[in-house]
Amino acid sequence: MKARVFVTLKTGVLDPQGKAIGHALEGLGFRGVGEVRQGKLIEIDLAETDEAKARAALREMCEKLLANTVIEKYEIELKA
């Protein structure tokens, strides 16, 4: 299975990089840009074919390494 893991900052955690990106977009003349938050996308190929098991393994990967849950949250997207 192919997994995409999105790691983003938790709501309320200040994101100076997102803010700088927002300012740069304004500088380029894009109007109506509100809050910008940035994060990471991690793509993982898995040998596991059972979706529930794959999801459980990915959650463990996120908790142990991929996300720092003090400041980040994660979302998992799975494709066969």
Binding site: V13, L14, P16, Q17, K64, L65, L66
Partner: protein, 222 residues
């Protein structure tokens, strides 16, 4: 006091730490490779500054998972002293030996300059040779030094006297919550701080404000 410095790939203050320790203790410091799984018999373990694993994923995240960190955790659990400087502080938060996290500097720039700190806790093996409220100047050199934790954790750190160093008012280089520059764990045997005390132990290098930190450890652990 016997000491060891952990060497991760891309540590770059490991030799500064060892030379400070050797200068002040008069003993040879052991250099321990991150893939080793055992620590030598030492009183103090130093996690040095640098860019371990190229800061991949997050600063300190990969180092926090390395083989030697299991031994460092066991050493800390037995009450052994652990000092994490700069990247070492990031490794300590990533491996949950200290609470909170170190995020990108609020100003987004790498900051490399001397900063004025206030010693806000002297009841520890790391700070007993300082005066409470004493101002000291240590250099900082980091891009991810912005200390964050939830308000309850911050209150707890302050309430329990676990904020060892703060940036002096107006001299916070990275946006850290409550000007926090260095914190202790609950048992007070683990200290993590972003500024570099090991770089100010010799007048030739611009100051000796870091010397009392190592002298405190030598007295407490010898």
């Amino acid at each position: 006091m016997k000491s060891a410095v952990i060497v991760f790939p891309a540590s770059n203050c490991d030799r500064d730490a060892a030379s400070a320790l050797e200068l002040l203790t008069g003993h040879k410091t052991e250099m321990v490779w991150h893939q080793d799984s055992d620590l030598p018999n030492v009183d103090l373990v130093v996690l040095p500054g640098g860019f371990s694993y190229g800061d991949y994923l997050r600063s300190g995240a990969m180092a926090g998972q390395s083989a030697i960190m299991r031994a460092v955790k066991a050493h800390a659990e037995k009450g052994g002293a652990v000092l994490g400087i700069c990247n070492g502080f990031q490794v300590l938060t990533e491996s949950h030996l200290l609470p909170g996290a170190l995020m990108r500097n609020a100003g987004l720039k790498f900051v490399c300059r001397p900063v004025t700190l206030e010693v806000s806790e002297t009841q520890s093996a790391f700070t007993r040779f300082y005066e409470n409220g004493q101002q000291v100047v240590f250099p900082v050199a980091h891009g991810d030094g912005n200390y964050v934790a939830d308000p309850q954790t911050l209150d707890r750190l302050e309430g329990e006297g676990r904020v060892a160093f703060r940036y002096a008012a107006g001299d916070n280089p990275n946006g850290s919550a409550r000007n926090i520059a260095g914190i202790l764990n609950e048992k007070r045997n683990v200290l993590g701080l972003m500024p570099h005390p090991e770089r100010v132990v010799d007048p030739l290098l611009g100051g000796t404000d870091g010397t009392p930190l190592f002298k405190s450890l030598i007295e407490a652990l010898s």
